[in-house]
């Protein structure tokens, strides 16, 4: 008897009991699925509810912000007044400019240094490769809190204290380990055989890199660059200690937090959040790639 014959005959032979067993299995399967969905929903709420609340407070009138109990959009009036109040507060626009400058310099420095380093650790077996990778991570394990004070002293002695450029150096040092590892994994996802093929078909190693590897890693490197930008944008501790007059936005907000009003705080929080949100939205596809899991 053929196999298909067996399958076709099964429903006819199925007894009452078989049907009940099948239904029970199906029900159990559905309950399990429902449970997973419920858990996922709870996790989403856990993350999204505060963001929604902060956004609601930032995008309503200052008067509404001060009332109690507080509501959320769309149940409260929509207005840009709170944001406008925040952005026109003293030190915010200069802080914003400083933040962008620091983040851009960090992005540029970090990517320029990390790209070759990442290429090296993903492509070459050199003596001390494992130690090098570990030491990269070790930098990350060093708390900024311990690092920042001596660094401030050094910066003062060298005469580069309270400058966005020196802060950018600090941010580069902080972001480099992550950027190197991320870019390394981006390079690792490009088969070396592609480069070899390019070399066989007439490229020098450098040409092979430019015409084959670079176009393939460009999106990944762009993602890691934006990631670096956001890390610098959000960094507050080193920024607070290494600058006094030329504060970045988070440092400025933090410095005035105690004396500031509720609308100022909410608007500040929302404003700080925007780049991260845009970043995650733009590169969500590559985020998986970053952690070594290669998705097509």
């Amino acid at each position: 008897m053929s196999v298909t014959g067996n399958i076709a005959a099964a429903p006819v032979q199925a007894s009452e009991e078989m049907l009940r067993v099948r239904q029970r299995a199906l029900l159990r399967h559905r309950i399990q699925r429902g449970f997973v969905y419920l858990l996922a929903l709870a996790l989403c709420l856990w993350v999204l509810a505060p963001i929604w609340f902060i956004a609601s407070m930032a995008l309503t009138t200052p008067a509404t912000v001060r009332t109690f109990p507080k509501g959320v959009l769309p149940f409260i009036p929509f207005s840009f007044d709170t944001m406008q109040f925040f952005l026109t507060s003293q030190g915010i626009i200069p802080g914003l400019i400083n933040s962008v400058v620091v983040a851009l310099i960090t992005l540029a420095l970090s990517t320029v240094i990390a790209a070759p380093a990442g290429y090296a650790i993903s492509r070459f077996l050199f003596p001390g490769r494992d130690f090098y990778r570990l030491s990269i991570l070790a930098v990350r394990a060093f708390p900024v809190v311990i690092l920042a004070i001596p660094l401030a002293v050094v910066f003062i002695n060298v005469g580069i204290y309270d400058s966005v450029y020196s802060l950018a150096l600090m941010h580069t040092a902080l972001t480099l380990p992550t950027t190197i590892l991320v870019i390394g994994s981006v390079f690792a996802s490009i088969p070396y055989e592609l480069e070899e093929a390019a070399q066989v078909y007439g490229c020098t190693p450098l040409q092979a890199f430019r015409s084959v590897v670079l176009p393939l890693v460009a999106p990944g490197i762009a993602a890691s660059a934006i990631f670096t930008f956001v890390m610098s944008w959000n960094e507050v501790f080193a920024a607070s200690i290494l600058t006094v007059r030329n504060r970045t936005l988070p440092a400025q907000v933090l410095a005035t937090l105690n004396q500031s009003s509720e609308p100022y705080q909410f608007a500040g929080a929302f404003f700080m959040m925007i780049p991260a949100l845009i970043f995650i939205f733009l590169i969500r596809r590559y985020l998986f790639n970053m952690w070594g899991q290669i998705s097509k």
Binding site: E193, E196, V200, Y201, G202, V212, K296
Partner: protein
């Protein structure tokens, strides 16, 4: 003219000797297959010829040029990689044109050659597609088209068919053979598939542990293996090996398999005389034994363990002493497991293997 001369090439990875003092000459326009189990150094040797891993010592010449220290792009070679290595960010046309563009051919010539190569491989309708939209077999065709568009005098192929499914592999095998006969490039083809090697190669170099054991025409490698390893690696089923004992009786040489006495071929007698009283190994292919349903004086009685009907033949498994032996019989020969039958060993089909060295003994070589 582009013969490939590999002279005394050695390549080590740390303490591991991947290619051990290999010398091999591939004639102009010859199709040479490097065959061996994984880790035997065949790919390493190919990469040394390609310039992708420099040889530690020795010399490699292509045509009359010494290319030992030249980078891949200056060796005048094309290569098909095992993973195809076609560029995912370029469409099929640009992939095939890549080497031509890099070598600064003019536009019209590039276009002509790309279309010609694509036509040869039946992918002319896919020129503007990207690799991610192609099947494995189509990608393979693109990789081959890219290689032949260069019209290099030397074509290197690293297990090009190993990633295809069985049916497609069969089809591509014949197609590649036709194609390569047409383009007349000197080809080195690496594979671990002995059937591929037998069916495609002008000559086969069988490698093991970094050394070439035998390099000869497929029929010779199949029929007259140089060592027991070659006999056991090539052929499906592999060559059978039987333990036997050489003894002299009344001046003549006789070989005993258990109680059964075998008369070797007269040409072998002088050689076997040196093995008097010593054990020897008999090698014989499954299709070279005659299975008889009735007893005969010169046939050995065996009991059938397994019968495998394979369509064109029935494959029998029998046990002779401690050795498991495969016998191929015609499908019309009726046999059942546990049945007794008699095997005859034609004297000219028996290969005599030195037990110590594993070398097969041939009278004319001594």
């Amino acid at each position: 003219m582009a013969a490939i001369r590999i002279e005394n090439v050695t390549k080590k990875f740390g303490n591991f000797v991947a290619v051990d003092n290999v010398t091999l000459i591939v004639e102009d326009q010859e199709f040479m297959v490097l065959l061996g189990p994984s880790g035997c150094g065949k790919t390493t040797l190919l990469r040394a010829v390609a310039g992708l891993g420099m040889a530690d010592s020795g010399r490699i010449c292509i045509g009359d040029r010494d290319v030992t220290y030249l980078p891949p792009r200056k060796r005048g070679i094309s290569m098909v990689f095992q993973s195809y290595a076609i560029f995912p960010h370029m469409n099929v046309y640009d992939n095939i044109a890549f080497g031509l563009k890099m070598n600064k051919f003019d536009k019209a010539e590039i276009d002509r050659r790309v279309r010609e190569a694509a036509e040869l491989l039946h992918i002319e309708t896919m020129l503007d597609r990207y690799p991610s939209k192609l099947s494995g077999g189509q990608r393979q065709r693109v990789a081959v088209a890219r290689a032949i568009a260069m019209k290099s005098q030397v074509l290197l192929m690293d297990e090009p068919l190993s990633n295809l499914d069985a049916l497609l592999r069969l089809e591509m095998r014949a197609e590649l053979k036709r194609l390569l006969a047409e383009i007349k490039a000197t080809t080195i083809y690496v594979t671990h598939d002995q059937i591929e090697a037998l069916s495609m190669g002008d000559r086969i170099a069988v490698m093991r542990e970094g050394k070439i054991l035998q390099c000869d025409h497929p029929t010779v490698v199949y029929d007259r293996p140089a060592t027991d390893f070659v006999g056991g690696f090539i052929g499906n089923p592999p060559m059978n090996f039987l333990d036997a004992q050489v003894q002299r009786r009344d001046g003549a040489v006789e070989v005993a398999i258990g109680d059964f006495k075998l008369r070797p071929h007269p040409l072998m007698e002088p050689l076997l005389r040196g093995y008097d009283g010593k054990p020897i190994v008999i090698g014989i292919r499954a299709e070279n034994m005659e299975a008889l349903a009735a007893p005969a004086d010169d046939a050995l009685k065996v009991r059938v363990l397994v019968v495998e009907p394979l369509g064109a033949q029935n494959l029998l498994t029998v046990k002779i002493g401690a050795n498991i032996v495969k016998v191929s019989t015609h499908p019309s020969f009726e046999v059942a497991p546990d049945q007794e039958l008699w095997l005859r060993f034609p004297a000219d089909k028996i290969r005599w293997v030195d037990r110590e060295s594993g070398r097969v003994l041939y009278p004319e070589l001594n």
